[in-house]
Amino acid sequence: MSKLHVERIGGLAAFGTAHSRVRSHGEIEIAALSPTDQQAVEGLFQSQSKGKEKSSQARDAFRYRITRKTPQGVETIEAPEEAVPEALSQCVKDELV
């Protein structure tokens, strides 16, 4: 897949939870990302597979669920907003469902 599917979740309004009425989704072409952002995204997938994410004191902050397709299959990770490149966090659109 040449695209990343991005979902904004959590926050004070509990975006994307089971009964929440707010959803936020978007897609972005990997090729449209700068080399630095591509590297950052790759780093997020790598660090998650190694279970490297540290616990944070952030509360009510958004998290991002990022999905990509690789020859090995579909991979999905979750990352805190502070670690996600702005190109990804800005590709989503908040909407009422």
């Binding site: 009425r21 004191q57 509360r59 009422l96």
Partner: protein, 359 residues
């Protein structure tokens, strides 16, 4: 990503003088970013090292303050400390924290800056006057707010050091500083961090969120001088945008009826519905409803009895990061008896409230 760190005129990142707010891992990432000049990367690397040392200093300072409070002669310990500093910063729609300092925010022509200052100052007074607490850490910590975060940003959050408020997109949400309960909620995350130190997952996460809703709602009721029957028990009523209101959503959450359809994020009401892995903003509905039931059964003002019990359960026993809801419930049951020994109806009200939600 680079616009999260605007450059100063000399080419050094702005964070070099404000790095105490930016996560170390972000600083480190930029220190390795080959797109940045060697000078700028070096500045980020130095900022990351400084941040690590500064975090240690802050932790020692907080520990020292708590030790001093315990050791000082009572006359000295009782000396009234001054109010905490309440600085406000303007992100100017960027994401670099804390942003530009707002001079004299209490008289600012920017209504958001003024509101953030006034309401935060009031939260400090709420905790001081009702519970004898000196700011977030009970040691006079500055209560920092950043406003106008990002563009049409539909959130407010506590980052471990400060509050941050978005302007809302005008449709789902409006300016998050318009909710005094939102401001009380975010600041209470800081209070929890410096007391019970609850984690943010599973049962402890739900308790963490509930405690912020409980004290956020209590602050809103205190400002309006409302008793438990007059209060609406809604969370986030004042930040709902026109699009959300048109769809019938009047709040984020309703403590008196967490599963209600007028909530933007309905919640479970019984502990039997709880599952590990739930978002803390979902599972908080269970203890939220217990507080509502306890406070309304006791009657009067929520901060007079139920609030005192919940505050003591939060701050009186040291950290318990993985606390279960049942343990918190039992602690409040015990405190209801010890804090109000001549009023057995208080203990009965607390006991019945938790029993009603299955705890």
């Amino acid at each position: 990503m680079n616009n999260r760190f605007p450059m100063l005129s000399g080419g050094a990142p702005a964070c070099a003088c404000q790095c105490f707010i930016i996560p170390t891992k972000v600083l480190k990432r930029f220190s390795r970013d080959k797109k940045l000049s060697a000078k700028v990367r070096k500045a980020f690397a130095l900022a990351a090292r400084f941040e690590e040392h500064w975090r240690k200093v802050r932790a020692i300072k907080a520990k020292l303050a708590m030790t001093a409070q315990a050791m000082l002669p009572s006359a000295l310990a009782a000396a009234p400390p001054g109010p905490p500093a309440v600085p406000v910063f303007d992100c100017r729609n960027g994401t670099a924290l804390p942003g530009a300092s707002v001079p004299k925010p209490g008289s600012s022509s920017d209504a958001t800056a003024k509101r953030a200052f006034v309401e935060t100052t009031d939260v400090a007074e709420f905790y001081k006057k009702l519970f004898g607490r000196n700011s977030i850490d009970n040691a006079g910590m500055a209560m920092i707010s950043s406003i106008h975060y990002s563009v049409k940003y539909n959130n407010a959050f506590w980052n471990g050091t400060q509050m941050t408020y978005g302007d809302g997109d005008g449709n789902i949400f409006v300016d998050f500083t318009k909710g005094n309960d939102v401001i009380g909620h975010e600041l209470t995350h800081g209070v929890t961090q410096h007391s019970l130190a609850l984690s943010y997952e599973n049962e402890a996460g739900g308790l963490n969120e509930s405690i912020s809703d409980v004290f956020g709602s209590m602050f809103r009721q205190w400002q309006a001088n409302e008793d438990v029957d007059k209060a609406d028990w809604l969370i986030g009523k004042e930040i709902m945008g026109k699009g959300a209101i048109a769809r019938g959503y009047t709040c984020l959450r309703d403590m008196s009826n967490p599963a209600a359809k007028h909530c933007l994020a309905p919640q479970p009401t019984k502990f039997s519905q709880y599952k590990d892995g739930m978002d803390p903003h979902e599972s908080s509905g269970i203890p939220n409803l217990a507080f509502y039931k306890a406070a309304t059964a006791i009657g009067g003002k929520s901060w007079e009895k139920a609030g005192k019990i919940w505050y003591q359960a939060l701050t009186g026993f040291g950290p318990s990061p993985n606390m279960k809801m049942r343990a918190f419930a039992d602690r409040t049951r015990s405190l209801a008896g010890s804090l109000f020994p001549s009023q057995p109806a208080v203990k009965t009200a607390v006991d019945d409230a938790w029993t009603a939600v299955g705890l």
